[in-house]
Amino acid sequence: MRSCPAILPSLLAAAVFTPLKAGTVVLGFEGFACAVPQQQCPTERGVCMRFKAVLLFTVLAVMCSFTLNAQMAPMNHAQPAMTMPTSSDATQLPVLADGSVHPELIPDDVAYRQFLQGMAFPANLSAAQVAHRNAKLKRLKLTQADSDLLVNVVLAGLRETLDAATVLLHTALTPDDAATAKANRLNALTAAQANLSKLSTAGQTAVDAWVKGEFKKRIIIYGGPMM
């Protein structure tokens, strides 16, 4: 039997820290195999106190590692196929802000992102899709020139970018990939929002009135502390 290395708690601490960097868990089990000469290590009922401390930290580290692993693990794509969310087995989130009741609680940026996302159609539309888009455009009460700018300049390529980001998110193998996908998505929507300045002043005012007035009614923000 080897004696307990004094550095063992340090190794455990390092092991616990490891997931932060690598997203993997390395646990120091060495403590389980060590024994301590009585004269070197105070005992209680024949069990090394330091060993007990190490054991305690090992257990805590394991628990903590599970937590961290869940946070830091790469996107698990095999699992969703097995656990496809359904209305019946999903935990329902509480409402944080209902735009139809309190539109002032919906942040402007969120409303603009959702508006632009909903207005983003693919480049080559079928006749049915054109009718669909027109039904949405008509509500904005824009001039034809502003409608054309909105469709052909502000929203140009946005649907393709968003769809590409979604594909990247769903195929992401690492948290970095997922973060990149989310960043791509956010950047595209932010750029489109900035491009709204290319509309006429009246057009910008009309869009702003729609987004902050009518459109916010359509938004609900759900959430709360992670359960």
């Binding site: 550095i7 708690p9 340090s10 601490a13 616990v16 330091r50 401390a53 930290f57 805590l60 903590c64 937590t67 961290l68 869940a70 946070q71 830091m72 693990a73 698990n76 699992q79 969703p80 656990t83 496809m84 969310p85 359904t86 209305s87 087995d89 999903a90 935990t91 329902q92 989130l93 209902d98 139809s100 969120v110 992102r113 959702q114 996302q117 909903g118 049915a128 669909h132 039904a135 949405k136 509500r139 968003l162 979604t166 998110l169 769903h170 992401a172 948290p175 997922a178 973060a179 998505r185 459109f215 009614k217 359509r218 938004i219 609900i220 923000i221 759900y222 959430g223 709360g224 992670m226």
Partner: protein, 227 residues
């Protein structure tokens, strides 16, 4: 020396565990779901856009956005669990008759995803159910004005304002607007009645939005009462 090292290690571990606990406490779901029904004179559309702004957990995956519309006589259409942050669906509505009851449709949407931190599926649910009522109403009767085209041929021109959203349907000719009827073969019918299609969206909190379309007209030899 070994005791010092052990103490330092234990302190590190404790600090780390405290940090992990704090991080867990900071994990918050923030999910945005926008249910944006729209319509033209043929279809009801339901576009659902979503985003996940949750903090503290990077292992959300398997996003599925749902959009659905239900209608009278069991009519129901669901875009299904569309992978990603957008879902869109449309349902052709039956044209109600003048004397018929309003037809009720409902549009709703949700976002569901897998939360790797909590090891479970999470859903917004369908609290955003929007009632869409379609009603065809005889809104106006007007008298003709004989006019002449560029060739000097006479025609009957009826105009008025019967389709202003939010106004009470009336038969007073002075309140007509938003439509113009041309009847090419004089002698002109004494009256023209106009029916408008009212589309009213009602949010769960009772807020309403109305749109109105001049739908049909008919020559009348006698004055008719509005319904």
């Amino acid at each position: 020396m070994r005791i010092k090292l052990s103490l330092i290690s234990i302190c590190f571990a404790l600090l780390f565990l405290l940090g992990a606990t704090a991080a867990w406490g900071q994990m918050t779901y923030i999910v945005v779901v926008t249910t944006d029904p729209s319509n033209d004179t043929t279809y009801i559309y339901n576009d659902v856009t979503t985003e996940d702004d949750s903090t503290g957990c990077s292992s959300h995956s398997s996003y599925h956005t749902d959009a659905n519309i239900s209608g009278p006589n069991g009519a129901y259409i669901d875009a299904g669990q569309i992978s990603g942050f957008d879902a869109s669906t449309e349902l052709a509505f039956a044209t109600p008759d003048n004397q018929g009851d309003p037809e009720n449709y409902f549009a709703a949407g949700s976002l569901e995803f897998y939360c790797g931190c909590a090891y479970k599926n999470v859903s917004s649910g369908y609290l955003n159910k929007i009632n869409i009522t379609i009603r065809l109403t005889l809104t106006g009767v007007t008298t003709p004005q004989v006019m002449y085209d560029s060739d000097g041929d006479p025609y009957c021109h009826y105009t008025g304002n019967g389709c202003t959203p939010g106004t009470t349907p009336t038969c007073k000719t002075s309140l007509f607007s938003a439509y113009s009827v041309i009847y090419l073969t004089p002698p002109c019918p004494t009256f023209a009645s106009v029916s408008c299609l009212y589309v009213t969206m009602t949010w769960p909190n009772g807020n309403k939005d109305s749109a109105c379309y001049a739908w049909s007209w008919a020559p009348q030899t006698t004055y008719v009462n509005c319904n």
